[in-house]
Symmetry: C2
Subunit: 355 residues, 2 copies
């Protein structure tokens, strides 16, 4: 499991010997410090390149007590959101030339999370990104939090912590609102799991938007984010609540795919009979039948802001517990149309939005 003693790497002492200067001078040119004459600097630089010197970052980290590594702990990486977060925060850290350490956890139990955080801390990361899509109470992790800079990425633990969110509730409201604009009055909801933050907040958004419009809540069915669960939930809606809705807000695009299939199997036409809007805007959403109107989350910004929020804690102006909030946007396609018998025609040319 552990690698054996390495074949020797070249060290600054080696190049110092080769150049006939002291190791400190070599260190200076490596770090671009002043106080080295142009000629020796050039000489050293040449040797550096020749021997392919690569600084030992663990040694540097140990000596300098500074780190250029960030860690991410996350969960459920097989889903679209978490995996997007992973990819984009890595990219963002790369842009700032930070190395990226990743620790996935299988079950969001406190001890597993603590283990992941500990592992990262043991490696002396300069900060930790945490994305926990479930709503878990991590108050007993608060001590760890104070020990190392961290930011919650679209996650909410029981305690205050610098964080950056995508406004799930707003996204869901936008979805519902569009349906409202299209004249729908009876709007159902295919929920994600409500012990997921996103699941709960999207549910809340749907509710609030309907309440704001002084409309009753439509029927609800639950899923688990998968297409299969969307299929089943839609069947449930059909058999138990048929006639009680003309549109449905679906918690994510995969479930929407399953739902579309369920409606089709019951010979219910989308969007003629039932309008549908999804959430996520996965790359395939534009090629569903019909192309799916949905809510787009800007994960690239999320990643970038998260890293910025982290580095901000580390640099001069101390930890301003900032709470960024990113607004998702509505993407119009063809799965949601004006309710039958309503006046205005649906806006937008959906064909342009296939992708």
């Amino acid at each position: 499991m552990r690698s054996p003693p390495k074949k020797k790497n070249v060290t600054i002492h080696d190049v110092a010997a080769l150049t006939g200067v002291s190791y400190q001078t070599v260190s200076r040119v490596i770090n671009g410090m002043p106080d080295v004459s142009a000629t020796t600097r050039a000489r050293i630089q040449q040797v550096l390149a020749e021997v392919g010197f690569r600084p030992n970052l663990t040694a540097r980290q140990l000596a300098s007590k500074r780190s250029t590594t960030v860690g991410l702990v996350t969960f459920a990486t097989s889903f679209y959101g978490p995996s997007q977060i992973m990819v984009h925060s890595e990219q963002a850290s790369k842009e700032l030339s930070l190395t990226f350490m990743f620790s996935g956890i299988v079950e969001p139990r406190t001890r597993d999370i603590r283990r992941a955080v500990d592992e990262l801390c043991a490696h002396q990361v300069c900060g930790i990104l945490i994305h926990l899509p479930w709503e878990v109470d991590l108050r007993d992790l608060q001590d760890v939090c104070r020990n190392v800079p961290m930011v919650a990425v679209d996650s909410d633990f029981g305690f205050k912590c610098p964080s950056v969110f995508i406004d799930q509730e707003l996204g869901s409201r936008k979805a519902t609102r569009r349906l409202l604009q299209l004249g729908h009055k009876k709007i159902a909801h295919l929920r994600g799991p409500v012990f997921w933050r996103a699941g709960r907040l999207r549910d809340v958004g749907w509710q609030k938007e309907l309440k704001a419009a002084r409309l009753p809540l439509g029927p609800v069915a639950d899923g688990d984010w998968t297409a299969e669960s969307g299929f089943k939930a839609a069947q449930e809606l059909i058999s138990n609540h048929w006639g009680k809705f003309t549109a449905v807000v679906v918690a994510n695009d995969q479930m929407a795919l399953g739902a579309i299939r369920a409606f089709e199997e019951s010979s219910i036409h989308i969007p003629e009979q039932i309008s549908l809007v999804g959430f996520d805007d996965i790359p395939e959403a534009g090629l569903f039948r019909p192309p799916l109107s949905t809510i787009k989350q800007d994960f690239a910004s999320l990643g970038r802001l998260s890293i910025q929020c982290l580095t901000a804690q580390v640099e001069p102006g101390r930890a301003n517990v900032s709470n960024h909030m990113i607004q998702p946007s509505f993407v119009e396609r063809e799965s949601a149309v004006r309710v039958a018998g309503s006046k205005r025609a649906p806006r937008a040319n959906p064909a342009a939005n296939r992708r």
Copy 2:
């Protein structure tokens, strides 16, 4: 960018002082070494827990010249395959309690790859996993390869290197073969980009299987893995090659989704008129309309084998340039059926395979 001097962490010297023993003794109990009396061991262990001691892995790594970190460099993480590889190799490394470092690259140019590898080496990883879906010639990276253990994950550079593959060609042959079994004689191919290894090999597999059956190659159209490109490619097939195929092997499931839509827009029924088989078995494939018959790749095994292959290089029995090959499997659903006017009925009950 770099974190400032940390607030002091507890070190083995601290706990040594607290317990009244030498740092070496503390080190011994931390590492579970013998030669410590049960009583002092217990005492130290207690203090260890009390102060929440966390060994500084960078220091340990530096002193011991051993590492427990593996690195992955990869590309195009937004696609299904690469992201699966990322997730599963992380899980596999976690199972062996190795820490996972990740370095994505934006463009598979030699210098970018070299930079990523260098970064990982600088962090003294004990080995590197490389997944490069493009076919790039990395022979001038060979020197680096010799410096640190590495394994190619479903990738082929210009030089010999321990590696583990999924047999793309076989997968494609299996897809084609099934279509053949169903009586199809004119089989088209919606290719992925052929500068991707998987794209090329799947193309080759399709060709070889047809040749083995002494059948002519059907028409071909190219895509770029996206659903949108599959849509366009299928349109091309329809307008330029209609009548010249009764089935099509599609290079991945996303493209298949697009293709299905294209056929449907032209009022061509799947599978009654055209049979289709995809590649990847993405979680949604079972909810396509019709549910997609496809080829499943076992990424979990790929990840596990990759890590094993890495650690094998590090441990006793030296680098046997092993080339594992994982066989993908055919998943029967409903998008491929017996060609019209052919005898036997299609096998398997597709409904059972929805997910």
